[in-house]
């Protein structure tokens, strides 16, 4: 059993198409820690000590958020700025997170073909996630390939919400039960509900 913490961050969750559904599925998973960041810190007054302790208490740190302007919602950035302190997460003596795993579960409004050199976003999705990937690396954590839903705004019409949300639940359970085993498939690798590298239960 690995200990898993999920940070959910969505300031406009009332308008969420997919993330709210995913979060509901996550709430059904037992034995993991689930944090609604915007509910805990509506005034952005992040409790640094508490957050650092949470990180120490868990092996896998997963952030779930909608991609806003190729980055995280602002509270996640605030969380990073404050919690990942020098001497704790990086720099001299900053080895407290070494060996942990970090993963993202993100939804992107653009369709999959947009995230390519020839698409209108001009880059693969993973390229936009580089800052987060490097954050994990600098903190000596292993960055796992992200769990992604492209075209999130059209997902309800396309009937993609439910499979993605249940896939999310299976992912969290797999991480919890050490059944997640992602072979390195290159720098552009992303995971979807039908490509989850999970061992069979039992």
């Amino acid at each position: 059993m690995a200990s898993l913490i999920v940070y959910f961050a969505h300031p406009g969750h009332r308008f969420s198409h997919v993330n709210a559904e995913m979060f509901a599925e996550a709430q059904a998973v037992t034995g993991i820690t689930l944090v609604d960041l915007y509910a805990e810190y509506p005034r952005f007054d992040i409790d640094i000590d508490r957050e650092q302790q949470r990180l120490l208490d868990h092996d896998v740190i997963l952030f779930q958020f909608p991609l806003f302007w190729y980055s995280t919602p602002s509270l996640v950035k605030e969380w990073q700025d404050l919690v990942l302190e020098h001497g704790f997460a990086y720099g001299a003596g900053g080895t407290r997170l070494a060996g942990k795993r970090m993963m993202l579960a993100i939804t992107a409004a653009g369709p999959q073909d947009a995230y390519a050199p020839e698409g209108y976003q001009h880059h693969h999705l993973r390229t936009f996630l580089r800052p987060l990937e490097q954050t994990a690396t600098l903190c000596k954590m292993r960055f796992l390939p992200p769990y992604v839903l492209y075209g999130a705004l059209k997902a309800p019409a396309a009937g993609q919400v439910a499979p993605h949300a249940t896939g999310y639940r299976r992912l969290l359970e797999g991480l919890r039960d050490d059944r997640f085993d992602a072979p390195d498939a290159g720098p552009q690798q992303v995971l979807t509900h039908d490509t989850l590298p999970l061992h069979k239960e039992g």
């Binding site: 406009g12 509506p42 019409a157």
Partner: protein, 666 residues
């Protein structure tokens, strides 16, 4: 009765007319009073007013002034200046006395007379100098501090002088004088005054006068008992001041009567002066000591503002009597001689002071302030001259001449200050020493230390700022004092108390008093008289906000608004609203409310109660409807707009976009 009223009226009208004119001409109030005194002197002569005894009554202003000076001076500050006090003061008195004595001997006086004159002329005028320094804001400068130390030493030195002068008596010299001229009218007055003066009570042999306040009972005691009585009196002042003030004022505060505080403060000062006179000490010194003892007290500013008007009036009266007391007949008979003596005296004293300023490293413009400021003879000179005559130390005709020298030198002092300002200061301009700016007065005044002001004060202190807190609750004060919070008793809506608390030097005023009208008045007063003071005001409600704004406050915080918004947010959250949504709604509500506050401000009319102001009521209703619609989510107002940034494109937006993209492709 009419006689008293007439006299009071003459003095008051002279002061009221002359002082503003003098201030307008930037001559200072002291010169104004002196000129007013000269102007009314013929009238006083016609009414046969005893100017000199009036002057001795007015000298009580000096006693009060020293009390106030003491209040400004914490004991540790007094202790810190002990070396300068004794060194600078002692040398000034000693050297000046010797120099004057030398000149007098050269001019043909017997040594005993010369020494008496030297001692008398060594003293400067505490009244004129401190008043002028305060008025011009020079008290904290090096020159001002040096002057104060010298003056304080002089006040102490008067006591041994009173003991020494009778020893110089040489009656055979007096016979000479008596046969030569006899006693002038000024002489009579001075003799009488010498006996009635509070300064020499106890030490003076002629203390049997019916006017006398000090029967001088200690005279009859043996030396060691006198010493014990004196020490007991000082101990009484120190202990009484530090132990009794608080319970007495708490008792007084129960009556909630403004005038009782004034009466108590006067009672204290007069009582101490009386006690000191009884044991043969200087009342000025006694009240100064009491002031120092009370400098740390929370009632300091209250005492200051209570005593201050009396001090001002009595000093004004004193200056006028100095002006009125000049015997012009005698002056014009010996004009050249007296002028020469006066100018010579000023030059001599200034010379000694200049030399000392080099020794004690008083530099720059301060050196001249120190030297010119203290170059006159002082009001104690009147007392000591009279005392010398009665003790047959100085012949009366000579004393009359010297009296004129003293008065004239005092009259010239304001001119010397003006010379300092107009001739010396400009040359030193731009070379102001940085440490002059250091001011121990706290630059932030917090008016009201209740549940609101207390929090503001705590935050300011935590932020490393110095504050002066004023509050009217004695119980509250004692509790705060126990926690080492610097608070003072007093009603902040009173301008005089604000002044005592240092509003003239303040950077900021936090208005947190409970009474809404008083708060508005306070803001209006401060924003008009001290526009440079930044005002943070607490409002009780929306109308109060408008009134405070009209009065000149700019940072206006409704005292219950923020907490109510927080309560509303908690309620929404408890009802199931996501905490972040509740926060956003609260923010939106605050924004909306602020907008309506501004919109309604345009319609607010302080002369019409809000509920009778039709336009105001109409718009308020409209805004309220808007807000309600917003809360129910039926409008584009804050309810939905707060989520604008994170609401994704709608289904239709997405389809439109897709169509546009298709077109672009095709």
């Amino acid at each position: 009765m009419e006689g008293f009223l007439l006299l009071a009226f003459i003095f008051l009208i002279a002061g009221v007319v002359a002082v503003p004119v003098a201030s307008r001409l930037r001559l200072g109030s002291v010169l104004g009073y002196l000129i007013a005194g000269i102007a009314i002197s013929p009238l006083l002569a016609a009414l046969q007013v005893d100017v000199i005894s009036l002057q001795h009554f007015a000298e009580f202003g000096v006693v009060m002034m020293l009390f106030l000076v003491g209040l400004e001076l914490e004991p540790r500050m007094l202790w810190a200046m002990k070396a300068k006090l004794l060194g600078l003061g002692g040398l000034q008195v000693g050297l000046t006395a010797l120099a004057v004595m030398g000149v007098a001997v050269v001019l043909g006086q017997a040594w005993s007379i010369a020494l008496a004159i030297g001692l008398i002329f060594a003293l400067s005028s505490t009244a004129i100098v401190l008043q002028t320094l305060n008025e011009k804001g020079l008290m904290k400068s090096d020159g001002g501090q040096g002057s104060f130390q010298v003056l304080l030493f002089q006040d102490i030195a008067v006591i041994p002088m009173l003991a020494l002068i009778p020893l110089l008596a040489m009656p055979e010299l007096m016979g000479l004088a008596d046969s030569a001229g006899g006693a002038g009218s000024g002489h009579e007055a001075v003799v009488q005054a010498g006996a009635t003066s509070s300064h020499d009570a106890g030490a003076a042999p002629e203390t049997t006068s019916s006017h006398d306040t000090g029967p001088g009972f200690v005279e009859s005691l043996p030396g060691w008992q006198r010493g014990l009585v004196t020490i007991a009196a000082i101990a009484a002042v120190v202990l009484g001041g530090s132990l009794l003030t608080r319970p007495v004022f708490r008792f007084i505060a129960m009556a909630k009567l403004r005038e009782l505080f004034t009466a108590t403060a006067l009672m204290m000062v007069i009582g101490i002066a009386l006690l000191m006179s009884l044991v043969g000490l200087s009342p000025a010194l006694g009240t100064f000591l009491a002031g120092v003892v009370l400098a740390n007290s929370e009632y300091r500013h209250e005492l200051e503002s209570d005593i201050d008007p009396f001090k001002g009036l009595l000093l004004g009266l004193f200056f006028m009597t100095v002006g009125a007391g000049i015997d012009f007949a005698l002056l014009f008979d010996n004009l050249a001689g007296i002028l020469a003596l006066t100018l010579g005296l000023i030059a001599l004293k200034a010379g000694v002071l200049l030399a000392l300023s080099f020794m004690f490293r008083i530099g720059g413009a301060d050196r001249w302030l120190f030297a010119l400021g203290l170059a006159q003879a002082g009001e104690f000179g009147f007392v000591l001259l009279g005392f010398s005559v009665t003790n047959q130390v100085i012949p009366a005709p000579l004393a009359d001449l010297l009296l004129l020298v003293v008065a004239l030198s005092m009259l010239l002092t304001p001119a010397l200050f003006i010379a300092y300002e107009r001739l010396i200061l400009p040359r030193h301009a731009g070379r102001a020493e940085p440490d002059d700016a250091i001011d121990d007065e706290a630059p932030i005044i917090v008016a009201g230390h209740g549940r609101f002001g207390g929090i503001v004060n705590r935050m300011l202190l935590a932020g490393g700022h110095k504050t002066v807190v004023l509050d009217v609750s004695s119980a509250q004060l004692e509790m705060l004092r126990a926690f080492d919070i610097k608070v003072f008793f007093g009603d902040a809506s009173r301008p005089d108390l604000l002044h005592a608390a240092g509003i003239h030097a303040a950077r900021m005023l936090v208005v947190a008093i409970d009474d809404a009208e008083q708060a508005v008045e306070l803001v209006r007063h401060v924003s008009q008289t001290h526009p440079e003071v930044y005002i943070v005001a607490r409002a009780l409600n929306r109308e109060h906000v408008y009134q405070l704004y009209a009065a000149g406050a700019r940072d206006i915080i409704r005292d219950t608004f923020d907490s109510a918004v927080r309560a509303g947010r908690s309620a929404l959250q408890a009802l199931g609203t996501h905490p972040y949504d509740a926060e956003r709604q609260a923010q939106g509500f605050v924004r909306n409310d602020r907008r309506s506050l501004q919109l309604l401000a345009e319609l607010y009319d302080p002369d019409i109660p809000a509920h009778e102001n039709a336009a105001y009521v109409d718009r308020a209703k409209g805004l309220m409807a808007e807000q309600e619609a917003a809360m129910r989510g039926g409008s584009s107002a804050f309810g939905t707009r707060i989520d604008r940034g994170w609401s994704p494109p709608t289904e239709r937006d997405v389809q439109e976009e897709a169509k546009g993209a298709d077109k672009a492709v095709s």
